[in-house]
Symmetry: C2
Subunit: 437 residues, 2 copies
Amino acid sequence: MPDVNTIRRLDAESPGFSQSLDALLAWNDEQNPQVEATVAEIIHAVRARGDAALLEYTARFDRWQPADSGALEVSRAAQEAALARIPADMRAALERAAGRIQDYHGRQVQESWQYRDAEGHLLGQQVRPLDRVGVYVPGGKAAYPSSVLMNVLPARVAGVPEVVLVAPSPGGQTNDSVLAAAAIAGVDRFLQIGGAQAVAALAFGTESLRSVDKIVGPGNIYVATAKRMVFGRVAIDMIAGPSEILVVCDGKTDPHWVVMDLFSQAEHDENAQSILVSPDAEYLDAVHAEIERCLPEMNRADIIRQSLSERGVLIRVADLDAAVALVNRIAPEHLELSVEDPHALLPAIRHAGAIFLGRHAAEAMGDYCAGPNHVLPTAGTARFFSPLGVYDFQKRSSLIGLEPVAVDALARDAETLARGEGLEAHARSAACRISKG
Amino acid sequence: MPDVNTIRRLDAESPGFSQSLDALLAWNDEQNPQVEATVAEIIHAVRARGDAALLEYTARFDRWQPADSGALEVSRAAQEAALARIPADMRAALERAAGRIQDYHGRQVQESWQYRDAEGHLLGQQVRPLDRVGVYVPGGKAAYPSSVLMNVLPARVAGVPEVVLVAPSPGGQTNDSVLAAAAIAGVDRFLQIGGAQAVAALAFGTESLRSVDKIVGPGNIYVATAKRMVFGRVAIDMIAGPSEILVVCDGKTDPHWVVMDLFSQAEHDENAQSILVSPDAEYLDAVHAEIERCLPEMNRADIIRQSLSERGVLIRVADLDAAVALVNRIAPEHLELSVEDPHALLPAIRHAGAIFLGRHAAEAMGDYCAGPNHVLPTAGTARFFSPLGVYDFQKRSSLIGLEPVAVDALARDAETLARGEGLEAHARSAACRISKG
């Protein structure tokens, strides 16, 4: 083991392991009353005063004064101009990534289905895209064109007729790569607004913006709180917590590769969580040493160090079966199976947002261009949430077509059950369909 | 038109129609701060004191004193005994309904999928059931065995290993038909608890109850508020508002049938909404007269009268196309297409929870036994929510297996895009996989 200890070590066989792990995984998701009050006020103002409030908050929080609501709009020409301006290799990489994302998501499209049952009744579901979707993309320094592609393209593939992109533009400047990604993904409107005021405008509409049916995309605590508050009025995607990676390694992957994978998670922010699980204690030593060797070289060394020391861990387990049991307990957002035969472990994996199979499958490639979505359930919510997908932009209507000649049996059962529940009109509504013959 | 006017009339061609309709559809979904405070306190107490708090609240709100947490449990034998006790026709109807619900929902099961792309990389999604689900069923007078079947069976079909049913038992009594439905659907545990305390126990667990991953099922304002508050910690189904029906009729369905359909919605509660849309003004007169004639006969006449007079409406439209436009604007929970050729209208319907096709397809049969789920998006949320289904009890993990020989191109693009976003560890994590040859 190296002299410095940036990251903690645990042994799953030791007494107290379970408690130590729980403490490390604990994430305080309690809402902040101060933030809640501020967001509630902003939502109320935008609901009540529309564009006027939107312009005021933009001036206050983004530090630029749009002349009017028209000034919030980024034209298609401006997006195309940015696409022409960005470096050629960046443009080509974005376009190839968009192609792969579209291809993968095309396989998620759900079709309407119907069948005739034994009695001849028609049953099924009609599947339709949502009418209007809002995509929130953070602006400023942490402007991620990959988020534009990952959030807009599934909606486009689903056939959503109107996709509205919103991104704050601090000081009135929007990042060229975000504009370029919007041009590639194809959005119907692009508005330079952000924060809780953008979420409120999308949910309730203003004079210049028609309300949408669903709001997706990452954002800070104000954006996340606003999304939670408008949920029910519109649909939202997940409420994102900090990002995690869990690498399961048999001890035979180049330690440098695994270290860069752990760092790639840790560099996102101080609350990100990087976990390595291996049955090979010497391998954990080697990774530990490589962490200490590489850390000073990284441009985000301070963030990585804080993330690893507060939330990171290298865990020795008895064997790969024990590693899989840990995976299912943690339900990580990203899981790398950096082992000889990852497919042998797959059937036992119950909970993970995305599963990367094999030593070459680095999370970073999934983040940008492998094809699957990088919007994934965090903080253990892979137990019940799924990656963002085309299915998030489609919804279903049940279909129930009853054949008159076969309706009597159904109507009698409905009548019996309705009377049992004391609902007379239900009973009579069914019974009047029974044939009189 | 009859002398009495239980229900209002509107003409879609008249000036002011749009405003009148908006006023009628408006539903105040603002949260009640008093209820919120009470629910927050209950959740806090159950989180902090577990079973002890659960027993105290059960004594206070359900007016019976369980001896200990074991007394909350309803045995399988007690469920079977109730099944043997209920009337034979009720049992047979419940069993046939369960069979139809299972058959329909069996067609919703989503399978894992994977493919190799042009470069040989393996991509796809692994689909798995949730581990543990809690189903809330209201108790007391409004005890609905149909809700047990509709909420439990999709989870069973999805393959959820553990389904926990909770239902309050006012005075310590649980309705026989609810017990019988639990025996038919097959639940792993049945606990006589209810209210916000039951939701808190399901979300956070107690000494005697392991926490679940998702909570579904209808409940009063305290239950709905508690579900909203624990959302994120666990998944929940929709937040249900009052129930609605919209009947589109060409004027050729027996007015009595349509009146019973409108009543079947209105008898649920005073806030339920019943709407009839027809191009035939004389038909609307006939339905109006039939409403006044039948209303005094109904056992829930007072509830029906209040619902129809406050929220009901008969609307004349120019033609069936105008009716469909209204449907898409209202996005009703239940839509009956009581017309000669309902399939001709279907392609234009964008938003409805369930679509009943033809004069014989009464909503009441869908509520109990046609097969599709009766848990549907209310209050216009059919714009973005779907019926409860097997897909609500399954979740997905992305699969990303990269072929070493084909990884260079992907790694180079990921490196370019990561450097563009200023994420060095992402760039190096991808780049170190590029072959050195």
